[in-house]
């Protein structure tokens, strides 16, 4: 179990839409991400990056192929089993405005714990790790975009997930903040042993990643370092 890759996609197929509007979102996608690896996936809009995250995050099932996370086959889990799997193994960081508006930063993390029935989330340590201790009592409305992202990352890491899925974390951030956030992710991957898969169109920050893959028309391919 320990040696199993954090994420394994085998020949995954996914089509979206109906009839004439049917589009291939994922076309024979293969992907293997090990624990502690920081992988970035780049590509134009509409290339299927979000679908990839949805499949990798046990949020939707592929039409064909296998999805394995930390050694467990999650391809065809029922909605409630998938929810359980997600809260026990996965962390999500979404694009923006994805914190609960009514909760302070500290409470966002506590809520993450309560979803899994746990009240022992190390809130202070997590906030310190993302350098947000001084904003523990603030609500999202009082935080800047970069600060919200950092709280979002702390929340995603609250239950020590095996796999962290990140969707365009720097979309609403300026250059400096973008680098800060991605550096943070890289550090968490190395230190915590969490596998991180980040979807982004920001080529600027790719230097922090271990591997970069490109998604075009539903097909995934590894990029050489020189192509960056």
């Amino acid at each position: 179990m320990n040696n199993a890759p954090a994420l394994l996609l085998e020949n995954v197929q996914l089509a979206l839409g109906d009839g004439d509007a049917r589009v291939t979102a994922l076309d024979h996608v293969n992907l293997c991400v090990n624990a502690g690896e920081f992988v970035a996936i780049v590509g134009p809009s509409g290339s299927g990056k979000s679908s990839l995250l949805a499949i990798a995050g046990a949020l939707s099932a592929p039409d064909a192929g296998r999805v394995e996370i930390a050694g467990q086959d999650v391809t065809r889990l029922s909605a409630s089993k998938a929810a359980r799997f997600r809260r026990e193994n996965l962390g999500f960081v979404f694009q923006a405005d994805n914190l609960t508006p009514s909760l302070t930063s500290a409470e966002q993390l506590q809520l993450a714990g309560r979803i899994a029935g746990r009240k022992d989330v190390p809130v202070d340590a997590l906030l310190a790790a993302v350098d947000m201790s001084h904003r523990a009592g603030h609500r999202p409305g009082q935080l800047s975009g970069g600060e919200r992202q950092r709280v979002g990352i702390a929340r995603a890491l609250a239950l020590v997930p095996r796999l962290l899925l990140v969707d365009e974390p720097t979309a609403a951030l300026d250059r400096a903040r973008s680098h800060e956030v991605v550096e943070l992710l890289a550090e968490r991957a190395k230190v915590g042993g969490t596998a991180v898969v980040m979807v982004t169109h920001d080529r600027d920050v790719l230097g922090h990643c271990d591997r970069v893959l490109e998604m075009v028309d539903g097909r995934l391919s590894e990029l050489e370092a020189s192509a960056l």
Binding site: R86, F94, T100
Partner: protein, 380 residues
Amino acid sequence: MFLALRELFFARGRFALMGVVVGLISVLVVILSGLASGLVNDGVSGLKSLHVTSFAFNAGTMKDNAFSRSTVDAKQVSAWQGVDGVEQAEPMGVSIVNGTTQSDHQIDLTLFGVQPGGFLSPSAEAALSAGAPGDIVVSETAEQNGVKVGDTITLERSEVQLRVAGFTKDQATFGHVDVAYLPLETWRYLAGGETQAGAVTPERVNAASYELASVVAVKAAEGAAIDTAAADEAASTMTMAKKDSFNASPGYQAETMTLSMIQVFLYAICALVVGAFFTVWTIQRSKELAVLRAMGASTGFLLRDALAQSVIVMVVFTGLGVLVGLGLGALMPDAMPFSLEAGPVASATVLTIVLGLIGAAVSVLRVTRISPLRAFGGAR
């Protein structure tokens, strides 16, 4: 509850607004309950206090105002006395009269002519006796209006004088008019029309020849079943069970039906308002809920949280509304038919809360259909 409480606080303006609406509805619910109880009391408390199983009216009497229209004779009474399962059957006279007190105060009375010492007799300190045929026992509501023991009431037109000998323990009214119990023979004396002005004496009463009564009051033996149809057939009467006879009190049916209709509307409004609010509220929260779903929150977790919000709002604001309603009720003028009774108010309160929760639940169920995929996507 963790999230529910914090959200309630965070969006307290919105929740307070809806809460105020719920509170106002609750105030109305309480006031209507008081009105309904008051009208019922004013209409039929006199009948309610009788230990009667059913009334037998003369066959063919129009149901509306049947008490005043019906007349029964001695044969019909004895027919009923012989029926299987009947413990007692007595004749009873009902009529409405107008009169003035000695202080020139006008008063209307519904006369209940009953046999002194019979099962219809009021349990008052001053008992009715054939020896003092002009004595009447009046509803205690008359005492609140200034009538005193010993007062003389002079009836209009006939100029007959009746003496107030005592009051009933509880309110006894019929068709919004105070009830006055008097001996059946005195009632017959008055109903017969051959009266003489002034006091009612035993001689004058004995001289009267009117032998009829309005209805036969029937009391069934404990646990016995009476073959009403057969008894009615034999006595040429039409029986109405005590509860059904309420409709024979003038205006009762119309009043209670109107109020019931208003109450039903109010409950419907409550459910719809709360439902509408929570529908909009759930839609506003859908991105946040989608994120929680993606994080792995179970459907049960989300539903419990959403329902907790509606329970807190409904209980708190209905409670506040009821308190305000009770306060307002205490300020109601005595002249209004209004009576706040614990039972009806409590059940009205519970019904308001339950219907509000049903309204909320229907909209909150949308929560189960929020797909976690909605968590993806750009900034709002």
